[in-house]
Assembly symmetry: none
Homo-oligomer: 210 residues x 4
């Protein structure tokens, strides 16, 4: 009875985008499916052609970012062993994601509690796995004598806090570009480990034209 241009896949993507937007704005509990549906241009019950439940929608939303950061990091460090280089990559991946998926990340930090306990465990495990990646970098660097970090576990958590705060206040088009932001955070991360950031490597190959 509605527009015949109904394309399942497009709608599905639109729903996820709308959900991220609305949940980031109101929080998961306060986000109503009605509002999400309206954003997509359908009625609320139609959402159920695409989602199983509101909670499952959240789960899917939360799962993607961590998973992607983990696999992105692992892909980019496949041939890299140097802790210094690895840290640069980690920060780069992390910032890249936090700057370009601010809302997803924001939700991910906030709404773990709204998951069912099974889903909660899955996501929490993924996040722990992610944190362990950084922890290992730091430990390796300390062993190699290039980082100074007593209590590496705590420093890992503090550093993740520092690297993630950005999703609370960054606005694309603000005073500082994403690249500068990345560079700055890399600097700060190295400083936190009382390490020198090798000048020439400050900007690790991203899409290096040259």
């Amino acid at each position: 009875m509605r527009a015949a241009n109904s394309n399942g896949e497009e709608t599905e993507k639109a729903i996820r985008e709308a959900a991220v937007k609305v949940i980031a704005k109101h929080g998961f509990q306060a986000a109503s499916l009605r509002e999400i549906a309206k954003e997509v241009g359908i009625r609320a019950p139609s959402l159920y052609n695409y989602i199983k439940s509101k909670e499952k929608l959240l789960y899917d939303l939360l799962k993607v970012p961590v998973s992607e950061m983990i696999s992105e990091y692992e892909m980019k460090t496949r041939d890299v062993t140097d802790p210094v280089a690895r840290l640069q990559i980690f920060v780069q991946v992390h910032l890249d994601f936090h700057l370009n998926h601010r809302l997803e990340v924001f939700i991910g930090n906030m709404e773990l509690r709204s998951l069912s306990s099974a889903h909660y465990r899955t996501i929490t495990a993924l996040r722990e796995e992610y944190a362990t990646l950084l922890n290992k970098i730091i430990d390796d660097g300390v062993k190699a004598g290039v980082f100074h970090a007593p209590h590496s576990r705590v420093i890992t958590l503090v550093m993740l806090g520092m690297l993630s705060g950005v999703c609370n206040w960054y606005q694309p088009g603000g005073a500082m570009s994403a690249d500068e932001m990345m560079k700055l955070h890399t600097d700060l991360a190295f400083r936190m480990l009382a390490a020198k950031l090798p000048a020439e490597a400050a900007k690790p190959a991203r899409r290096r034209a040259a």
Copy 2:
């Protein structure tokens, strides 16, 4: 679960504590007055003898922490002008609060969006005022040549992120004591500014008996 010997002031305090606990657990929207009331040992309608509305309760909860941190900081720096000393004090006040009022802080970071717009502006202004305190310390230190911080505004925000992450994972009775935590964060803050933390001042007088 207070007894029935309801003393007005005690009840009011109990309500605030219960509210913090319940809101931290579920988020503001999902926190029900019924649950808060049950925690206190009364029925939901009785809450209205102490609060004007759920939203106003949140406002009061959110206002206290920032206000207290600001006045605590100002009190302690009344006679201090040195940026290095001021930063130490700032971190100390901030950590003290974040470690001992984890839940309030957590709520404060999360639930701004649930405020009415008037209240939102008030709280946001307070938080901006608070951030500006740190920003000024950094600027002063840079001018004085003791800190290195291009983009002091951004670094302020990042540093606040770092100093606040603790409320997401710290558990009293964990591996690291509050004092160690404070020391560590002070270290890291100075490192972020590429500054030396004067050894003898590492642990600024807290409640120095002598």
Copy 3:
């Protein structure tokens, strides 16, 4: 769970069987077309190639059993006038149906209320017609002096209740065979009428031509 080789008539039959099963399990209102469709191996909208509406489906389901019992009884008693023999046949037909179509009967007793009022009247009339068959047997027997039944109308209803209860608890493969069940009910029916069941006629011709 039929395969995709959908033969129209087969599908229609499968739908009716699935509907009986699902409605018996949940009741008409609680039975969802989705579940019926799933049982058949198709999607809910496809049902509408075979049914006009959910209510009409119920109507068709309810109509068959009474109609069949009536015509079966009439066929078998075409040449029988003796009330005793007729009662035996009635019980036999009734039990045969109630044992072999437990679920249909169960639904028929339960879900009259879910019919539209026009359909309700039709089915109710059929059921009344059916009850009248038994009533007449009893009246004839009383007149002939072989049955004792004051208030024949009420006894008719009570006897129908007795003869129908079986659909609530009979399980094929249980302790008593269908034939024994039929014999027992015949006994009891005759006892209710304070009549003697002629020994040699206890098992009236079932599918014996003569």
Copy 4:
């Protein structure tokens, strides 16, 4: 904001009565809390001041009748051992209840399936306990040589079917009084057991001291 004559207990009773009425009319699933509430003169959410859930309401409704019949029977047979007398009492209690609480009984026979599994087990156990009362009467009578009943378990079930059918069609104020109905069913029950109902005991003392 509503009538100040709100009396908790009265409302609770009114709700149960309305629920019985509405559920008997539509079936449990199709009975809407809105309709029940309207019958009581309140709005649907107000029901939740009295009930925990719709299912729990059903459970409470279903539990009462069987329980009461059991305890009524046990009270009245405390000093009675004769199977003949016991059967008379059983029929009397059963009919008394089925005539005066037609709707509750009707629901009880129909809506077991709508119970949660835990509640289902409880009610089913009660009903089994009740059936066992009758079964024992019959067995005792057979042993004593006053009843003839092969397959006493099946006859028990069939007799319960007969004794319960009344709730499907009896209308108070109909052609036959409740007392007559009771007498008739007692007669029929005895006939089903090929037993003689002692003439003078046909109407067992109901509340007559002697």
